[in-house]
Symmetry: C2
Subunit: 475 residues, 2 copies
């Protein structure tokens, strides 16, 4: 296939979130090879869709791009004969629902919400109680692609990624890959420990939000000793003297909390216990011991208690709000301001490079979510075949070529398998429409004190108007 | 091999517990084919060893048996050149230690002790905090057998069986099988639901203490409908009218509690949720929802709160005490009384039949613990290869022939895998001598409220004099 012969069509679903959509526009334009692509935005919110489309067209114009940008509220129109479908949708009431669930949960004795379970952050990505709409949507999307764009690749960037990508691969109908930008944290990790990430061989492996530095080397030499040295010689001083850890700034930006978590006492405790360095969102998980209450979180993550504390999460919500306002206002700004906000150079996310690799046989290496048994071999032998793992892979015109990775028993048995078991429970509840499975999951929550409490919180959560679909489904 | 040419030698380790040892003596005598076996008792307690040996010899005499009964405190002497080694040892301070651990745990907010975790009964079989001596002993036993009786079969009947048999098979040095009499409950289940167990095909499958009625049929007809019918039409009446459930008798015998658990509300709740009937000790597990406190236990298991409540367990300890006294006094009784207590007919446990099957090619079918991957095929595909599963098997001179069994996703994903994960954590703590792994296991306990509580209970438990070996080992 060659771009000179045929225009490439990409559907982008979930364009209402302008920030991510604009990075795709930018990357397409600067890629050159894809700069005359037909890009079709989809969103169910007509106002947001119009905003994003207007801004994207403006950006295309300013940068003298050649993209053919369209918009539709009908997913089928966008998907039909597409070469690639990018999915960034969090279906249903999304964050609104999750905030409501958290409030109800905390009122019932579940600090930070009943989704806050081990090994998938202690945050708002619900795998169970608010994900009905998301799972329903994903299955529908896969079916539609099979029907009207059977040769297209699905590039999914939406959460909860382990569950979503596992659903996709078990449907077994289309070509698909998922991508989480949490994997980019590895560069920061390398720099922090005094190594040039460009010269370093880095392999992350695990499942989404639960990934570990499986390889960290330079010219064949293992560099893990640099982490151990830092822990031994510099960590105490760092936590004592770094301003992040010893001052409290009301206006701290969420990015700083996210960044500093990566080198917090929790991260180092996990590194010591598991024997591999936890990367990105992984640090937000661990077992419940880091998360009993705000005081415990502060002890392990510093004065803000990490991204998932009351403090950290409020900063994240503030960030989302600001970003949305920024994007909303951007189309009324002048050209310079727009270019300043979204500089026209390739970003770090490998979504467009992935597409180029498939189409034009460029070799692209990055971390993706793919099926654990791939081309007849298991990537992580102790996990089931039909589960989405997050691993390094080389992409070319022939598809995905996962690298061999080496994790250890402790990470697999004490983190990945328990996380996969939780995923299975979420999917079983969904597949069977079972209220009982949801309830059983709450019975197993470390914070449940009685059957009554578990029933009460589940019934309250299912009664939120935004959870209507779930309430009908889980019987 | 033929019994006419060579005397068979069986070592029986742990003969201090006379009751089990005497059933072996009885079964050997009544088997005829093995009645002139050399049987060597071993125990580290000289007094108990002497008591058992005296009683065994007396029984041999009364029944005109031809056994050559010996006793030694040296395990090596018994094992050397043995054909079979039967192990019934709970090494270390055993029940004494476990009762002490329970008291300390309850004082620290862990109702029923910190071993009381999901999916391995809520009882005193410790897999973590008191099992050091047991694991150490088992590895030593396997090594000794490899050295001085490499062709012998190990028949293990000791707990915690999942952990112990998994250790044995991972050592990969000798032929071995484990057996738990909990599997015999299936006969009672069949009778209760109005079926003749002798005419019924029954398959149990799972891991030790976590076994499920995978097949229940007669002449090819599935009989599960009999259970569902009973649940629907008779269960409410039964729980209302059966004297066990509506009266409270101070002197109730522990066997009655054990038996009635099998048809308790907890058992039926598990049956409804998991879709397969839980058999034997399985009913004592489930998730923590049946076990928060005595009141909850009573709701699910009846007025005594099941075998693992304060009430039920006190009856069990009483039973053990009575049994030991009975056995102690038995050798001073007259012949009639001895024969009355231990009637000379083959018992239900398939230990001696197993030996006959191996030696004389008798076909014996029963439930045993064996390696999950057997002769190149996995018996329960979703579980790891090198884990002990409890399944039906046919035994003959060529060894073990496991039957094909069919469990469902819910049992495997929500019960067996979490139980196997706990087993892995116990073995990892042991293999690495890691205090941190023990602590992490307590952090994950549903009853842990703070890191301090977890550390406090673990340190207190490791400080018991009877836990000396463990304290030195887990650093």
């Amino acid at each position: 296939m060659n771009q000179n012969y045929r225009k490439i069509k990409i559907a982008y679903i979930g364009a209402g979130s302008a920030a991510w959509a604009l990075t795709i526009v930018r990357d397409l334009i600067v890629s050159k090879t894809l700069s005359n692509t037909e890009l079709v935005f989809v969103d169910i919110d007509p106002e947001k869709l119009e905003d994003t489309t207007r801004l994207a067209k403006r950006y295309n114009q300013i940068t003298k791009g050649n993209l053919d940008i369209k918009a539709t509220s009908k997913m089928e129109v966008a998907i039909k004969d597409a070469d690639f479908v990018i999915n960034s949708v969090l279906a249903g009431a999304g964050h609104v629902l999750q905030e409501k669930i958290r409030n109800i949960s905390e009122a019932n004795g579940y600090y930070r919400g009943i989704e806050s379970r081990e090994f998938n952050m202690v945050s708002d990505y619900s795998t169970l109680y608010s994900a009905y709409d998301q799972y329903h949507y994903i299955i529908d999307l896969v079916q539609k692609m099979r029907d009207i764009a059977p040769d297209a690749w699905l590039v999914n960037v939406s959460n909860p990624m382990l569950e979503v990508h596992t659903i996709i691969l078990r449907e077994n109908k289309i070509k698909a890959i998922s991508y989480c930008d949490g994997t980019l944290h590895s560069r920061m990790v390398a720099e922090f420990f005094g190594v040039d990430p460009k010269k370093t061989q880095i392999q992350l492996a695990g499942v989404n939000h639960n990934i570990w530095l499986a390889r960290f080397s330079q010219d064949g030499q293992d560099l893990t000793f640099k982490i151990s040295e830092w822990v031994k010689e510099k960590s105490q001083e760092y936590w004592k003297n770094d301003p992040f850890y010893n001052t409290y700034d009301e206006t701290i930006y969420y990015h700083d909390i996210s960044k500093h978590q990566q080198f917090s006492k929790a991260a180092i405790d996990m590194y010591k216990y598991y024997g591999l360095y936890p990367v990105g969102d992984t640090v937000r998980s661990g077992s419940w011991k880091y998360h009993y209450d705000l005081e415990t979180k502060k002890k392990w993550y510093g004065p803000y208690g990490g991204l998932d504390s009351e403090i950290g999460w409020s900063r994240y919500l503030e960030h989302i709000k600001n970003k949305n306002e920024l994007m909303k206002n951007l189309s009324t700004e002048n050209d310079e301001r727009i270019l300043e906000t979204i500089p026209p150079k390739m970003g770090e996310d490998p979504v467009i490079p992935f597409i180029e690799a498939i189409l034009f046989d460029k070799k692209v290496r990055s971390h993706f979510d793919i099926r654990n048994e791939y081309a007849g071999e298991k990537i992580i032998p102790m996990l089931p075949s039909n589960v989405a793992v997050e691993v390094p892979a080389l992409i070319d015109k022939n598809g995905i070529h996962p690298e061999q990775v080496q994790l250890n028993d402790r990470v697999i048995k004490e983190c990945l398998i328990p996380r996969v078991v939780n995923m299975e429970i979420a999917l079983e509840a969904y597949n069977q429409g079972s209220y009982d499975v949801l309830l059983e999951a709450i019975y197993r929550d470390v914070r449940t004190r009685s059957n009554h409490q578990a029933e009460q919180v589940l019934n309250s959560v299912l009664s939120i108007p935004e959870n209507k679909g779930g309430k009908n489904h889980y019987r």
